[in-house]
């Protein structure tokens, strides 16, 4: 039996799921704010923040696309055991994409929803190196403006892929369509929803 692959998810499923969901709501409505997310242990190549987010957001009605580094036996087994989510090999039908910073799927393939139902677009969960609200040496420093931000907010992201920076600064999709991006690093999380205007310093 390969029972060793299964590990504990949330210690207290109801409370933890609510805490994680609350944190995700906070970072979505106040882009660039960094919240702690360590309700679970790390799962193999997934950080605690990434595993917690998956457990709170995924269920049997959501389709998940996993990047190559995450599409390994222990991750697949645990995610489908705890959340019951369906995996898909086609990035263009995924509701959620989970990938490390250097293995993004082609962004133009992802679901955007429609003008009537912009909420049916794909949410991108990207595991990055480090997040900070101050300028980190060697990291990409983003200046965020828009709804949920009083003036402007500074966000440093280590190892943010150039493709994603281009997407964020150019915003090729007509509003209200667009990708919402959740950035996960170790035990912390932040988000850049489709409404945020991004400039790179």
């Amino acid at each position: 039996m390969n029972s060793i692959a299964l590990q504990v998810g949330f210690r207290d499923s109801v409370t933890n799921a609510q805490q994680v969901f609350r944190s995700l709501l906070t970072v979505m409505s106040e882009p660039g704010v960094i919240e702690t997310l360590d309700q679970t242990e790390a799962l193999d190549t997934l950080s605690p923040a990434a595993f917690s987010t998956c457990l709170a957001l995924l269920d049997s009605t959501t389709r998940l696309w996993l990047a190559e580094r995450f599409a390994i036996d222990s991750v697949i087994r645990n995610l489908s055991f705890h959340s019951g989510c369906r995996l898909t090999g086609n990035a263009n039908e995924a509701d959620f994409v989970l990938c490390p910073a250097d293995q993004l799927p082609p962004l133009e393939l992802l679901k955007l929803g429609s003008a009537e139902y912009p909420d049916r677009g794909c949410t991108l969960l990207v595991q990055v190196g480090q997040l900070s609200d101050r300028a980190l040496p060697g990291a990409d420093v983003l200046r965020l403006q828009g709804p949920g931000i009083a003036d402007q907010r500074i966000l440093s992201v280590e190892s943010l892929p150039a493709e994603l920076i281009r997407y964020l600064t150019e915003r090729p999709d007509p509003f209200p369509l667009g990708l919402d991006i959740v950035l996960l690093a170790g035990g912390s999380v932040t988000a850049i929803p489709r409404t945020t205007i991004v400039e790179v310093n």
Binding site: M1, S3, V8, S13, H82
Partner: protein, 149 residues
């Protein structure tokens, strides 16, 4: 240890259907000094039951039932699963623990003899008593065709 799917299905079914009190009395002593890691806390949920008309016809949704489920891991890395009808967390936990232990060669025979067999016997007896009680109320109508010939 080599266990066939049928064997495991059998003991899981017995553990799920057994009366909670009997299950606990029979297994308290064996389980008490074992260590388990709870992978999925006992949780209560709703499951949709589907059936086929006349057993072979089209499938339809018969209704919903409450189910309690639980998963634990024993110190020897075997996983124990349980799905119990109704809301009964202690029962689900105990059934999962016993499922995990029954897969260990050290406990398999002992547990089969002291827990599974007595519970199975008890289930058969309860069923027989009920069948007899119902059979006693069978009515024969001499003037009507009952539909069996």
């Amino acid at each position: 240890m080599n266990i066939s799917t049928e064997q495991r299905q059998h003991w899981i079914a017995v553990l799920a259907k057994a009366p909670t009190e009997a299950l606990r009395t029979l297994s308290d002593s064996v389980v008490s000094d074992m260590q388990f890691e709870v992978i999925r806390e006992p949780e209560i949920g709703l499951m949709q039951v589907r059936a086929r008309m006349g057993g072979t016809g089209d499938a339809f949704n018969m209704g919903d039932m409450t189910v309690t489920r639980c998963v634990v891991r024993s110190h020897n890395d075997t996983l124990g699963f349980s799905y119990i009808a109704g809301r009964n967390k202690p029962h689900a936990l105990r059934a999962a623990q016993l499922d995990a232990m029954l897969q260990l060669s050290d406990f398999h025979q002992r547990l089969t003899d002291t827990v599974i067999e007595p519970l199975k016997q008890q289930l058969i007896n309860t069923r027989q008593v009920k069948q007899q009680a119902i059979a006693a109320t069978k009515v024969d109508f001499f003037t009507l065709v009952r539909g069996e010939d």
